[in-house]
Amino acid sequence: MSDVLVDVRGLRTWFFGRRWWFERFLEREVGAVRAIDGVDLEIRRGETLGLVGESGSGKTTLGKVILRLAPVTEGEIIFDGSDITGLRGAGLRRLRSRMQMIFQDPHSSLSPRLRIAYLLMEPYRINDVPREERYTVDELLEMVELSSELASKYPHELSGGQARRVGIARALALRPEFLVADEPTAGLDVSAGAKILNLMRDLQARLQLTYLVITHNLSIVDYVADRLAVMYLGKLFEVGPTDRVLDAPAHPYTHALLSAVSEPDPRLRRGRARLLPPGEIPSPRNPPPGCRFHTRCAFAEERSRIEVPALEEIEPGHLVACHFWPKVRTELADSAARARGYR
């Protein structure tokens, strides 16, 4: 049994929007939203990979594409050794029981007119799962530490944290091996979020789950992820073990993200400003040529505009896509340490 559970190769997903029929012949690519534009990524069995990025980075799309909820324009997805890129029909349905998603907005991912008990049993009904193989409603609720009295309620009667747990319970119903969690703590208070993260850790240990956690919140990733991938405008900028990437980032954007994180420690205020990249993220319809970050990067040179940097391994397991990574690393090493609270 291979170590790698999910293997994404050369993935591109472009959204074209409504085209007239003849535009298909002309292969009009201008104006397409390049949500994912050339991504290679491995997720190992039993690990938690954090996928980090801001809006327009394509991270949510990547999660959905892996689950075959969003289209693939080019490339392959290999799950547990088999190519699932073109899977359809019965094969796809079988696949669904092995990989599931925990959605970002807890309330709107639950059908509003149905009771929780019904919603929890939906996956079984849809997939004709025989009774012996089903968890009961009570078992599912208990797995996510919710009381059985919630079973007869409607989604809008639940709090954000409860709704999110129901979403997790539903995702677990089919006994998947792989879970994609989209912003697991979004919209939750600090303590509710902490409980969800704790729950996810427990479940991972108990049920041998592999997680892909998608978030823009670096502190979550810092806490919960074994490895980390930083995404920007459809491409990966840096991938590696969480400790290494956050202690000694090699990409200017990773540095920027780190320095921008509002740590709950006022002493970390000094001298962060200069690391903030000016301007805003360009539109994914029209990404900058060459290195996508060059329009906002302090290290950019002529080469950045022309040549797309490839992901290269700079230490075992740590990859970065930057022409100038040695310089970046040394020049910004000091601020990285300060950003993480080392004094």
Binding site: S55, S191, T242, G341
Partner: protein, 340 residues
Amino acid sequence: MTAAAEESRLLEVEGLEVVYHTDEQPLPALYDVTFSVRPSEIVGVVGESGCGKSTLSAALMGLLPPNGEVTAGRIAYRTEDVLHLRPENFRRLRGSELAMIFQDPLSSLNPTFSIGAQMRDVLRAHGGRGDRHRIASILERVGIPDAQARLGDYPHQFSGGMRQRIMIAMALMLEPALIIADEVTSALDVTLEAQILELLRELRDERGTAVLFISHDLGVVAQVCDRVVVMYAGRAVEEADVYALFERPLHPYTEALLAAVPSHTRRGEQLASIPGRVPSLSALPPGCKFVDRCAYAQPVNREREPRWLELDGRKVRCNMYDPESGYEGVRSADGSPARA
């Protein structure tokens, strides 16, 4: 408190109480909230959902919904009592001295008017002239490039971060002394959030604009505020200088909150979450509202609602620091046991 010191306060809230009237029973959203904001100060109000901070910001701007009522207390702007102000006078205050920016700029900006037109309307409503130059320069100041050319653009033509800046520009146009910022960075990406916070700090340094910064995010508050008020269940439970608060929180809730924030120092362990849940407004326990979740709770806390105390420049609402409460092992402000 000398008269001069009182005069220098821009905003003063004293013993504020707000109640919502519903079909079932009145909900006590705020109780005995007291704090102030001085010029050039950035004061943070932080708390989780249900703590009352949105009610507070609505009350301050006179924007409570029809079923909300201020049942006690005082809100004074530069010693002028705003609760009993006539609507037209309050309108004069709002915008020119006091401005507010909200979380979701898309729904706070009118999509059918260009931003130039909207800003001009604000100027005109306060008796100014719709000066293009002035509008453009404010937009540039908040970081909208090419502002003069973009005056005719509509809100949907700007990105989320830009719209937030436009809102800030609109708030700044009349040069208010105080800006109330309600969850302004919650919907923004991390790098944008950092830029907006930096902008607020710069505005404070350049113009002496004070900010009341309301947020649920402790990290953001730590980065931008000078003083912080922590709220829980409609009450202010602690107030302190930001460094002091994070270094040594006095109130058990503040302490628990800080412990629940994920950070790399806790990888591999369980995150300390706060047991239990925020009490529902319709079922608040008597006595201290935090009692069911507090690590330091004693029976006396179930009966006695703690007082708002001042110790050594810090303020806290907790029986643990109150010698008169009957709490065993009362402490003083530096955490050590109090002298009898």
